[in-house]
Symmetry: C2
Subunit: 255 residues, 2 copies
DNA sequence: CTCCATCGGTACGCTACCGCACCGAAAAGA
DNA sequence: TCTTTTCGGTGCGGTAGCGTACCGATGGAG
C-alpha cells in the first residue's frame, strides 16, 4: 500500500483562510485527533474543553429530549468548527455533538482560543461569520421540520452531508438517519426506497451511494439551497472534491 | 389623564447592562422609534441599516417560504436586540423581522454599531452572549417543530411572548399565531379552545388573557424551560413586570 | 344604525406519519 | 461452521394535522 497523506490543517476551510502570520502563531497549538463514528465531542450541558476544526469528518449538533428522542439541528464539516459557545461567552450548550462520519479534526484548547479571540483579529471575524452561517442552517432546519416531508428532508440531509465529504459514499444506517432527522426508522426506509426506485441513490446495509446528484437536489426542498447560498456568501465556501482520507496512529477524541 | 413615561433605553436589558461610561458614549446616538403591529424591521435578503433594541415591543424572526407559508424561528423582546447579522459579519439574512406586539425600540445606525464593535468592549461581549441565547432559542424551535403538538407549541409561544411583556394581555389573532407557528388557523382554534376549557386563557377577538400561568407552563413542552434557563444563565435575564406602555409623538420605524 | 370585513368555531375527507410487530438477509462474532 | 446481532423491508391500525368549505358573532366604518 502507498503511504496515505496526513490530514492537513488547511483541509479545514476556516484554518485555511487565515493569513500565514496567524497560522504560524496558531498551528503549533493544534492537536490532530481521530473522530470515531458516533463519538461524542460534547455532551449536553457539559463544559467544553476544545474547539474542533474538522478536516474530513462530519459532526452533527443534536438535541436529545427528555424522553430520549433526538433531532439534529445542524451539520458541521470542514467548512466550519465546533464549540462556538466557547468564544460566544458560554461554557456549554443544551445540545451535544455526535460524529456522523468518521475522520479527523484539529482541535485547539479553550484557553488558546480565548487568547486568540482577545487579539480581535482575523480568527475572530472568521468565527463570527461562520456562526452566522450556522444560525442560517439551524433556522432552516426549524423551517424544514415544520413544512417538509421526510422525503424532502432526507434529500436535504444527504446533500448537506455530501457537501462535507470528498466522495459519493455515505456511511450511515437508516436508523441513524432517523435519529438525526427525528423521525421513525420506517419513515426513512420508505423515503430511501423511493430514491432508489428513481435511481438517485443505492442503499446497501449502511452504505449509501449517491448516483444522481442533480436529481437529488431537485427532489430536495428549498431549504438546502438557501443554506448553501448563504454559506457561500458568508464564507466563500465551495465544497471540496477529491480529498483523500487516511488512517494513522493518531489519538482518538473523547469528551 | 396623567402623563405617561417615555420609554427609557434601560428598559432594554442589554442597554441597561452597560456600564455608565459606555452608556454615555452610546446613548446620544440612540433613536427612539415606534414599532407598529405587523411592521417589518427587516425584509428577507435586504441590507439592514440599524440594530434595534426593543423596550416594550416584541419582534419575531420569521422565514417566508417560496410558496408563501411562514414560520417564526425566534422571538425578541426587551431582553435582546435585532440585527445580529450586522456585527456577525453579514449584511442581510434569509429571514425577516415582523413586529408581533406594538411598542417602542431604540435603534443604533449600522456604522455606530461597527464602531463600537471595533472597540472590543462590553457591548461586543453582551451582543455575543445574546447571540448564543438566540441560537438556543432557534435550535429549540427546530426541535419543537419536529416533536411537539400544536397545543404544546401554542403554550410555548404564549409563554415566550408573555415573558417579554409587562402584562397578561396578548394582542394577537389566531390567524397571526398560526402564521407564526407555521400551522393552520383551525389548528390554533382547536388548541386555544382546549386552553379556554381548562381555564388557562380567555380568548376574545384577538385579545388573549392568560389566567393561569403555572398551568400554562405545565401544559407546554420542555422547549420553553430549556430556552428560558439558558437565557437566564447567559444574560441573567429575569422577565420584567409592571412596565408601563406609553403613546407619544415618536417616529415610526420603517424598513 | 346599518353594513361589511374580520375573527373564530365547526365539519369532513384525506394523507403523512406514528407505534408496534414481525421477518428475512447480511454481517459479525464465537 | 454455527449463532447472534444488525439492518432494512413490510403490514396495519391509529391519529394529528391539512385543505377546503361554510357560518355566525363581533366590532369598526360609514
Amino acid at each position: 500500500m502507498s503511504p496515505k497523506p496526513q490530514p492537513e490543517p488547511q483541509q479545514n476551510h476556516l484554518l485555511a483562510a487565515l493569513t500565514p502570520d496567524v497560522q504560524t502563531r496558531l498551528f503549533p497549538y493544534l492537536e490532530l485527533v481521530a473522530l470515531p463514528l458516533r463519538g461524542l465531542l460534547y455532551e449536553s450541558r457539559r463544559p467544553m474543553r476544545h474547539v474542533y476544526f474538522p478536516t474530513d469528518s462530519i459532526v452533527s449538533l443534536q438535541y436529545v429530549m427528555e424522553n430520549g428522542a433526538s433531532t439534529a439541528i445542524s451539520v458541521v464539516g470542514n467548512e466550519g468548527l465546533l464549540g462556538i459557545t466557547l468564544f460566544m461567552g458560554g461554557e456549554s450548550t443544551p445540545s451535544r455533538s455526535m460524529v456522523q462520519s468518521a475522520g479527523y479534526a484539529y482541535r485547539l484548547p479553550r484557553l488558546r482560543v480565548k487568547e486568540e479571540f482577545n487579539r480581535h483579529g482575523q480568527l475572530l471575524m472568521l468565527m463570527l461569520r461562520y456562526t452566522q452561517a450556522l444560525i442560517t442552517q439551524i433556522s432552516q432546519t426549524a423551517v424544514c421540520n415544520r413544512h417538509h416531508s421526510i422525503n424532502q428532508q432526507l434529500c436535504r440531509w444527504l446533500l448537506l452531508s455530501m457537501d462535507r465529504l470528498s466522495h459519493n459514499n455515505l456511511t450511515m444506517t437508516q436508523e441513524f438517519i432517523a435519529n438525526m432527522l427525528g423521525v421513525r426508522r420506517e419513515g426513512v426506509t420508505q423515503a430511501a426506497l423511493k430514491l432508489q426506485q428513481l435511481g438517485v441513490i443505492s442503499y446497501k446495509r449502511g452504505m449509501i451511494k449517491v448516483l444522481d446528484r442533480p436529481q437529488l437536489e431537485s427532489l430536495s426542498c428549498e431549504c438546502y439551497s438557501v443554506v448553501r447560498k448563504e454559506t457561500d456568501v458568508l464564507l466563500h465556501y465551495v465544497p471540496q472534491r477529491n480529498v483523500i482520507v487516511n488512517p494513522a496512529t493518531i489519538p482518538t477524541a473523547t469528551i
